[in-house]
Symmetry: C2
Subunit: 381 residues, 2 copies
């Protein structure tokens, strides 16, 4: 049985294949995800997805450009010439179309060929694309975070890959550890950590590593600089790993031995308490705002409310920031098998910053913390 | 004179500062760019930009999130808590606002405070954001590729930085060269090249390096694999450098010594001819489609039309793919000081692929090729 995908031409008069007629592991796995999408077809003839991570989620495709059109009876994967061979080998159970014109032209030609014109679309697409499609007579219905909400709940394979991404990041950090010492430059430490991540098998790095010491550490998203680690510096290290396209994200804060570090220790212990408190709040059914509030409340009661201005966490998967968003102004119903970070912080300009970030997996009761690196205060001599 | 930016609170009743009242180098440089934007204020009270590269272009801000609101008389830079300190130190001549609510709420509160409600916006923003703002009573007028078109023409500083990004990429490649030999693994070569880029001073890497050998080389965007370089393989190497946020992008194709390489040499020389031909077509005033066609015509006449399915080039700057787009279905009027790639290729499944990519700067007459690495066929023993 051949699993080779069928290439469909837009001027081809053959009918498209029924979905997954050819089976295969990729097909079966993807099929249940597509069932979820088709179950939401109300008032639309098909669903259009252009978000590259959503495409990867549904097809396994690893290229950087394409779109999917999922109708009641067929699945089209559309990409350009650059990914033709890759699509033929990677994408199973989809009819493959190679686009040669601007995207809106290709979508409307395909819809016309199929005799449909009411399409659901991701509200994350650009206004320009929405407008171009509308002008071609396509009737569009927005779906907000539709596939993103499916992606937020991880299956067995995804959980394994995320755990592997955590393990690689931890292992890269442990090898770096002896080089984090007084006099080392922030940007050199960052480069070494990224080299270690590659050595551990990460094919890509989810975001530029943050190494922020001393006064830089009070900027939650500082970029590594030429600055050297000094006595008494807080050192925020925020990095992530990868495994088969799935990411991890974690932060540890170290303290360089020095005089007058009492205030820094105090801040550290408040953040640690906030982290632990938030983790203990996780459970299926709670609202993400409750989790955020549990960490925020610890910090507020300690008198540092104004120094913790970001959300408590975010989902991690094919993107390093994805649903659910654990923050004060987003309602998010927490579900079993979601994976997200817990990362409270306190940032005091002129003193320094502390952030302690772990990744948590939601279990039937409570949470499993995936990040296993110690999180107690460590003072570097 | 203090250059410290003024922090504006949305419930603050003080009037905003007039633009650039405090002067400073950042202010002067940015001022002329803003003049160009204000000159286009027809039927709008202000222009909203959320594209992070456009924000960096206009303000110098290096963070990952924020938006700008430019009115006839004031400039607002809005970001979140994470970037408060960085914005205060980096962004000169703008009134800084820290957003605490969802973006559409912040934009509408700011517009209300200023007594305006007709805003120009980038058509690249998401449909969801457009819709949320519309529902808040903001009247929105799309501007397609507005700032992107300004960005396409580089000033003196930008040209210097792009040249430096090219130099770093070339230097990283030359140090890698001795390791490109029979038996080396694609992914190991890619990791070494990226390490070299960091060593040369690149703080970020514009895209995952492509090392595609043998049958992988016929996929224009292949990912490096565990495959080792074999006798007779074509090896496509596509990588880029960075300097102060500006990128470079280049491709070289090597041929491993082997028997039966006549066809591969033939393909190489056709692509080289197409590259040279396209470069010779560059001049202010020509349409990008003419440049694309000049390369495509060489390949077509040699009988390989179907094996060159992507565009001939793209602009490079703060993004590695930006305006202008040099392809068959986009009209682009070429202007002096644009910088873009010329990268024809031929990809024959089962045989292999060749791509030769240089970066060109448009001069008053013709083009300066910024990429100086040799581009004649090199056979690796």
């Amino acid at each position: 049985m051949s699993l080779k995908a069928k290439i469909v031409k837009l001027n081809d008069s053959n009918p498209p294949s029924p979905p997954f007629s050819k089976g295969g592991m990729g097909g079966f796995r993807v099929n249940s995800r597509l069932d979820g999408i088709r179950a939401s077809f109300k008032g639309i003839d098909g669903f259009l997805t252009t978000d590259i991570d959503n495409i990867r989620y549904l097809t396994g495709f690893r290229g950087s450009s394409g779109f999917l059109l999922i109708t009641k009876t067929a699945n089209f994967f559309v990409t350009d010439f650059r990914y033709k061979e890759q699509a033929e080998s990677d994408v199973k159970g989809w009819d493959i179309v190679i686009e040669k014109e601007k995207r809106a032209i290709t979508v409307s030609a395909l819809a016309k060929k199929l005799g449909i014109n009411r399409l659901g679309f991701e509200s994350s697409v650009s206004y320009g694309f929405f407008d171009a499609l509308s002008k071609k007579g396509i009737v569009l219905k927005p779906f907000k975070d539709f596939i993103e909400r499916l992606r937020a709940v991880k299956n067995k394979r995804e959980k394994l890959l995320i755990k592997e991404a955590v393990r690689r990041a931890e292992s890269a950090f442990l090898e770096l550890k002896p080089y984090i010492k007084r006099g080392a430059k922030e940007n050199r430490i960052a480069a070494m950590l990224e080299e270690n991540l590659k050595k551990k098998g990460c094919r890509s790095i989810p975001f530029d590593t943050i190494i922020a010491s001393g006064r830089n550490s009070s900027m939650p998203h500082a970029r590594p600089s030429e600055k050297r680690l000094n006595a008494g510096d807080l050192v925020v290290i925020d990095w992530g790993g990868e495994a088969e396209g799935y990411f991890s994200d974690m932060t540890r804060t170290l303290l360089m031995k020095g005089s007058d570090i009492g205030k820094k220790k105090e801040i550290y212990n408040i953040v640690l308490k906030a982290n632990r408190k938030a983790v203990s709040t996780i459970s299926p059914g709670v609202d993400g705002r409750e989790i955020d509030n549990s960490a925020r409340d610890v910090i507020k009661k300690a008198g540092y409310a104004e120094f913790f201005g970001h959300g408590t966490g975010h989902g991690v998967g094919l993107q390093v920031h994805e649903a659910p968003h654990i923050t004060w102004n987003r309602r998010e119903r927490i579900k079993e098998d979601m994976v997200f970070t817990i990362e409270p912080g306190i940032y005091v300009p002129g003193v320094g910053g502390v952030r302690i970030e772990d990744m948590a997996l939601v279990k039937p009761k409570g949470a499993e913390v995936l990040t296993r690196l110690p999180r107690g205060l460590e003072i570097i001599k």
